[in-house]
Symmetry: C2
Subunit: 334 residues, 2 copies
């Protein structure tokens, strides 16, 4: 591999996505991409007693399904890399507890799917592993009570607020296979433009996304013409507008190829999700449910998957701090 | 590099610890290792308005000092890997916000120092980076109010409870240099023996520590005779006793070479810290303040640094769950 500077690594032997799956909740199943997901669970509790355990069970189901689809047992996997939005990344810790795979916890907020794949592909290309499991999850109810208000309070949501996706995605990365392949990755830096409104994450994260995309283009010599799709993680409708403005200001033509998982996953007319979807599970389920299968089918050839994360906590927000954001990009080729 | 199985990677070109520092609070400075730390801050607030910002400032000071000691600027560093105990790993996110280094957040609870060095050394040996900054922190006051009780409540502590270290440690890893070098790393798996008492973390984590050490010994063909010191992260006095029992039960002779950062950092007779120290900053500050300098001086030649982490959250504990634990080991040679 080759470090092209500014966080971008270009792989000589491209790691492959050997297996993947997405398991989502009922609302996500009723959205425009509902038919693409591997499983849609009608029970908001996923058979568990609490929202947090529901999220962990959702993640575990995607992990089990990804292993099963690839014909892998837990002992075939060298490392598992996972993280989530719950305090202390407990959805991941509890989901992976009984599998016995060497475990590396990550925290990238909603950028976690890309962060875990970035690290996994670095380890594989470096020769440290044959196969790495990367996964993440989010849950509307566990996120609401941890980050916002008790659901029972029934608070009003602002127009810029996003709806945390109940969903999970996981992949097994490795060598060989039929792809899609990861040709390069770009690790983002923390960007904080001073946004303090925790109900407007899209605005906080958009500059991190465009920063990483610009650095990826500089390092690889590419632009939007190379990709069939450049997709941000969960900027939502408000953040996507800002990202379009930022690209435009920098003279970058998106050629109609830019979209956002948060803007895609819900129907904005009928699903009452305001600025769209968010959460680690948003970009993870769109990647594993829609993008990777479309690449397998030959409908998408080159995709830049740039998940986006807001690194604040309710504690720091209450202390008057602004929202540091990040975006990591995975360049996929069919 | 070579994957020897069960999470252990043996390096062909051993990554080097190019620079390091430890910055701790007043109580840690008054402990048996106080004179070893680079900086002891007398102000519990580190000049900030809140405990969380104090922790982040503490981390930032260690990072700045480590860069300065090594003669590095931020732009000399390819990746920064950091995490901590605060919800959403905000000590790290805010500490690294303005540095502009590509950032990878990790969550390994108190195993974070070892996890970040494990990942950093994999990336360096794989050729993905020349230099990686690895860091972590903890703070007594921010941990108490997040994980336990408001300080003002003045609750009684059980004898098995540990005292979260106010401290931070950071290293720059790279190629070349004078060492100490990392010859191998062992990534732990999650171990959960059913302990539910969040005031007895040592008991929860001890089996994860002995599991990782045993797997490291199996993969490398080593035992305690190879090392001058095998040090667990923060099992404390209670957990260290359990680890000794577990080694003994498995017929592993520790040869008087086993110690624990949590048992070492405070004076158990005079500092009223019950079972000893804990927190990400415990093993990080003991590594960067005491162990690495002693290796530089030639007083320690081979050290196995096995930080330990409890992956629970107060939410899951209140929901009746047991405590999943993990330990990652870094094998250092002078």
């Amino acid at each position: 591999m080759y470090n092209a500077g500014n966080g971008t690594i270009i792989f000589d032997k491209k790691p492959s996505v050997l297996s993947f799956s997405a398991v989502v909740g009922k609302k996500e199943g009723a959205g425009p991409y509902g038919k693409y997901f591997d499983q849609v669970e009608e029970d908001a509790h996923f058979g568990q007693e609490t929202w947090e355990k529901a999220e962990s069970e959702n993640l575990r189901r995607s992990i089990d399904l990804t292993l099963q689809k690839g014909g892998f047992k837990a002992e075939d996997i060298d490392f598992s890399i996972s993280g989530d939005l719950l305090n202390q990344c407990t959805s991941s810790g509890y989901a992976l507890r009984s599998l016995g795979i060497p475990f590396l916890g990550v925290y990238g907020a909603c950028s976690t799917m890309a962060e875990s794949m970035l690290l996994g592909s670095l380890i594989i290309n470096g020769g440290g592993a044959k196969r790495v499991l990367c996964s993440t999850s989010s849950n509307f109810c566990s996120a609401e009570r941890q980050f916002r208000m008790p659901l029972e309070y029934g608070g009003q949501r602002t127009p810029s607020a996003q709806w945390t996706v109940t969903g999970s995605g996981s992949v097994v990365l490795g060598n060989g296979g039929a792809g899609p392949f990861i040709d390069s990755v770009s690790c983002g830096k923390i960007v904080d433009m001073g946004i303090k409104d925790a109900a407007n994450m899209g605005a906080a994260m958009a500059p991190a996304f465009t920063d990483t995309v610009k650095k990826h283009f500089e390092a690889t010599g590419r632009d939007f013409s190379y990709y069939d799709l450049v997709v941000s993680g969960d900027l939502g409708i408000v953040g996507m507008d800002i990202a379009n403005d930022l690209f435009s200001r920098d003279g970058i033509k998106t050629l109609g190829k830019y979209n956002d998982c948060g803007a895609m996953i819900f129907d904005k007319e009928t699903q009452d999700t305001h600025a769209g979807g968010s959460g680690c599970g948003c970009s993870a389920s769109m990647l594993c449910g829609y993008i990777l299968p479309e690449m397998k089918k030959g409908n998408l050839r080159h995709v830049l998957f740039a998940a986006t994360g807001a690194l604040m906590s309710p504690t720091f927000t209450m202390q008057g701090e602004s929202i540091p954001s990040i975006s990591h990009a995975i360049s996929l080729e069919a």
